[in-house]
C-alpha cells in the first residue's frame, strides 16, 4: 500500500510546487506517494496503474523490471499518471536530491497532461476506470474461466493498435441522422445557378439535369451497398459494431479499445512530453531548487537520463534540446521570412533581435503540437547538424551497422516516418462483406515500410477468430500487390493488382 509523504518530503513538495507555479506551469493537484522498489515495479508493470485486469503479461513485465533493478541495469525513478488529481509515485530509497528532481520532472508532465491538446479527450479518472475494468474482467474470469479469458485478451491485445489515432479530433463517422438529412438535401439536383429564368433551359438542359440526378442516385445506391460505407480505420470499433461476439468477448474488447485510446496520446507525444518534463526539471533545479552540496549528484542523474546510446533515439534528450532550441530561436528572433531568406552564414551566426519571446513560445508549443508536428516544424538543419543526427543501417559488405546518411531531409523523413501513426501500420476495414460471403477485407496503407509477414499472419488469424469468417488483407510487398488470407484453417496469399 503506497504511503503518504514524510514531513520532510512534504515540505520539499511544497517548495518545488511553488517554483513550478512561479514559472507559470499549470497542473492538476498532484498527489505524491512513496513506494518501495518492489511496489514501484509492480505499478510500473501494470503500465503505471495500481490496478489492472488480470493477465500474465503483467507478471512477465514485473519479472523483467525486477531483474533489471536487481542487476543494476535499470531503475525507475518515478511514475506519473494522467489523472485529475495527477498521481505520482516516488521511490522510497531515492536520495533527497533525486526526489526533488523527480518532483520537478513530475510537475512538467502534469502540466503537459493538462494542457497539451492530445490529452484533452482522455479520461481524467482513469485510475478508477482501470480498476473498474479489472472488476469487470475478474467477473468474466469467475464466470467463463481464466483460460478462455486470457486467450481472448491475448488475441485482443494483438489487435489493440488497430484504432484510429486521430479519432478524437476528426468526426469520421458522422451522426447517422444528420448524414441522412444531408443526403436528402443533396438528392435535389438543380444544376448550375441561373440568374434569369428564361436562360434556365439553355444553362441546365433537362437531359443534363436528368443525367446528374441519375448519377447522384447511382452513387447513393453504391454507397448503400458498401459495407462499411467508407473505409474505417478504427478496426476495433468495426468489430464491436458488427462482429458476432459473445457478451463477454464484447465487454473485454471494448475495455481493450478504451485503454488503447487512453494510452494513444502518450505514444504520440513521447518526445515532447519527456522533453518538456526534462526542460522543467533542469530549469527548476539549476535555477532555484538545487543546493551547493547536491550539484554533483544532480549532474550525474541528469546526464544519466540525457545520455544517448549509439544508434538509438533518446526522447528525453531530443525533446529537451528541441525545446531549448525553440526558446533560443524565439529569444533571438531566429524565425520568419527574414531569417529563412538570410544566406550569409556569418550574419546568421550573430543573429539576435533580442525579442525575448522564447518562454512564451515554448508554452505555446507544448499546447498545440504532438511529436510529428513538433519535429516537422522545429527540427531545423542547424539543429540536426548540432545534435549530430544521422540515419544508420546495416552494411552487408562490411557486416556492420554504420552511418548511412547525414543528409538533413533523409534524417528528418526517417524520424517522421517512425513517429507517424505511432510507428504502427495504418490498416483500414474496406469491406465487411467481401465477395458477398461475409468475409472481412482490410487494406494496408503502405507508407514505404512493408508489413512484417509473421506479424501480419498472426494478426489476421486473431482477427478471424473474432470475425468468425475468413479475413483478407491487401498490402504491398516488395513493390507488388499482395492479398493475405486466413480462412480459419489455413493461410494463403495471392498477387493482386493495386
Amino acid at each position: 500500500m503506497p504511503k503518504g509523504l514524510t514531513p520532510r518530503l512534504s515540505a520539499l513538495k511544497d517548495e518545488i510546487e511553488g517554483y513550478a507555479r512561479d514559472y507559470g506551469l499549470d497542473f492538476f493537484e498532484t498527489v505524491f506517494e512513496i513506494l518501495s522498489y518492489e511496489e514501484l515495479n509492480m505499478v510500473a508493470s501494470y503500465g503505471g496503474f495500481p490496478n489492472r485486469y488480470p493477465h500474465w503479461r503483467w507478471g512477465m513485465e514485473y519479472e523483467q523490471l525486477s531483474k533489471g533493478y536487481e542487476y543494476g541495469v535499470s531503475k525507475i525513478y518515478e511514475l506519473v499518471i494522467n489523472n485529475d488529481p495527477c498521481y505520482a509515485y516516488l521511490l522510497e530509497s531515492n536520495a533527497e536530491v533525486d526526489q526533488k528532481l523527480v518532483m520537478a520532472h513530475v510537475y512538467g508532465h502534469c502540466d503537459f497532461f493538462k494542457n497539451n491538446f492530445s490529452f484533452q479527450h482522455t479520461n481524467r479518472r482513469m485510475i478508477d476506470e482501470m480498476a473498474n475494468h479489472a472488476t469487470r474482467v475478474r467477473r468474466w474470469v469467475d464466470k467463463i474461466g481464466v483460460e478462455k479469458i486470457e486467450d481472448f485478451i491475448d488475441r485482443a491485445l494483438s489487435l489493440e493498435n488497430l484504432i484510429d489515432q486521430h479519432a478524437p479530433y476528426i468526426r469520421r463517422n458522422p451522426d447517422p441522422k444528420k448524414a441522412e438529412e444531408e443526403a436528402k438535401s443533396n438528392e435535389k439536383v438543380e444544376g448550375f445557378k441561373v440568374n434569369r429564368e428564361y436562360m434556365r433551359q439553355f444553362v441546365n438542359p433537362s437531359e443534363f439535369v436528368e443525367a446528374q440526378r441519375k448519377k447522384v442516385e447511382e452513387e447513393a445506391e453504391r454507397a448503400k451497398k458498401n459495407f462499411p460505407e467508407r473505409a474505417q480505420r478504427d478496426v476495433l470499433l468495426f468489430l464491436l459494431d458488427h462482429a458476432p461476439m459473445e457478451p463477454w468477448e464484447f465487454d473485454i474488447l471494448s475495455i481493450i479499445r478504451e485503454e488503447a485510446y487512453y494510452f494513444a496520446p502518450q505514444g504520440q507525444t513521447k518526445i515532447m512530453n519527456e522533453g518538456w518534463a526534462s526542460y522543467w526539471h533542469s530549469t527548476i533545479m539549476t535555477q532555484r531548487a538545487l543546493r551547493d552540496a547536491e550539484v554533483i549528484d544532480y549532474a550525474d542523474r541528469h546526464s544519466g537520463t540525457m545520455g544517448t546510446r549509439p544508434g538509438a533515439l533518446n526522447p528525453y534528450k531530443l525533446g529537451i534540446e528541441l525545446f531549448r532550441d525553440i526558446e533560443d530561436r524565439w529569444n533571438k528572433g531566429r524565425f520568419g521570412k527574414e531569417w529563412d531568406e538570410c544566406d550569409d552564414l556569418r550574419e546568421r551566426r550573430a543573429w539576435d533581435r533580442k525579442l525575448g519571446q522564447g518562454r512564451r513560445k515554448v508554452f505555446e508549443v507544448r499546447k498545440h503540437y504532438n511529436d510529428v508536428t513538433f519535429i516537422d516544424t522545429f527540427l531545423t538543419t542547424e539543429f540536426a547538424l548540432e545534435q549530430k543526427l544521422f540515419v544508420y543501417g546495416f552494411n552487408e559488405k562490411r557486416n556492420s551497422w554504420e552511418i548511412v546518411d547525414r543528409e538533413f531531409r533523409k534524417v528528418k523523413n526517417k524520424l517522421l516516418s517512425q513517429l507517424t501513426n505511432f510507428g504502427q501500420p495504418i490498416i483500414e476495414v474496406v469491406n465487411g462483406n467481401f465477395e458477398n460471403r461475409g468475409e472481412l477485407l482490410l487494406a494496408h496503407k503502405h507508407d514505404g515500410q512493408d508489413l512484417k509477414g509473421d506479424y501480419a499472419r498472426e494478426t489476421l488469424k486473431n482477427l478471424q477468430s473474432v470475425w468468425r469468417r475468413p479475413c483478407n488483407l491487401v498490402t504491398r510487398y516488395e513493390g507488388k500487390g499482395l492479398m493475405l488470407r486466413f480462412d480459419g484453417q489455413n493461410h494463403s496469399e495471392k498477387k493482386v493488382e493495386l
Binding site: 500500500m1 485486469y53 485510475i127 478508477d128 476506470e129 472488476t135 469487470r136 475478474r138 469467475d142
Partner: protein, 142 residues
C-alpha cells in the same frame, strides 16, 4: 423481513449495473445511483449501507462529508470504494466517518462482506425498534 436496502453510487454505468445485479443475487435490494445523488437517496430511503465511489461526477469525499453532516444520515454505514490503494485516501475516508474503505477491483468477498454488513445493520435496527416499542409499552402501562 424485507431485503436490506443498499445504495450503489458510481458514475460508471457498467460497474453500477454489475454490482446491482450481484447485490440482488446476494439478497440485497440495490438502488443504483449514477448521478451522485447518494445524499438525497439516503435521506429518502435510509438504506442499510451506502457504497460510495470516490471518483464520480461529484467528488466522493465531498459527498461523504455532506451525507454525514445531515443528522438524519449520521449513523448510516458508508463503504467507500476507490481505485487508488493509498493510505492517504483510506485515512481521509475514515476520518470523515466512513465505515470501511475498499480498494478496487471489487470481488466476491466484497459482496459477501456487504451483504453481512447490511443484514447486521438491519437486525440491529429491528432490535432497536422492538426495544423502543417495549419501552413505549412500559411507559404507557405505568
Amino acid at each position: 423481513m424485507d431485503s436490506p436496502v443498499v445504495v450503489i453510487s458510481d458514475d460508471d454505468e457498467s460497474m453500477v449495473r454489475l454490482l446491482e445485479r450481484q447485490a440482488s443475487m446476494a439478497g440485497l435490494w440495490a438502488v443504483p445511483d449514477l448521478k451522485s445523488e447518494a445524499v438525497q437517496l439516503t435521506t429518502l430511503l435510509h438504506p442499510a449501507v451506502v457504497v460510495l465511489d470516490v471518483f464520480q461526477s461529484k467528488y466522493g469525499l465531498d459527498l461523504l462529508r455532506e451525507l454525514k453532516s445531515d443528522p438524519r444520515n449520521k449513523d448510516v454505514d458508508v463503504v467507500m470504494v476507490s481505485g487508488i490503494p493509498a493510505d492517504v485516501m483510506r485515512d481521509s475516508c475514515m476520518a470523515l466517518g466512513a465505515s470501511d474503505f475498499v480498494c478496487k477491483p471489487l470481488d466476491a468477498t466484497f459482496l459477501v462482506n456487504l451483504a453481512r454488513r447490511a443484514s447486521q445493520v438491519c437486525s440491529t435496527r429491528v432490535k432497536a425498534q422492538s426495544r423502543r416499542k417495549v419501552a413505549e409499552r412500559k411507559t404507557a402501562d405505568s
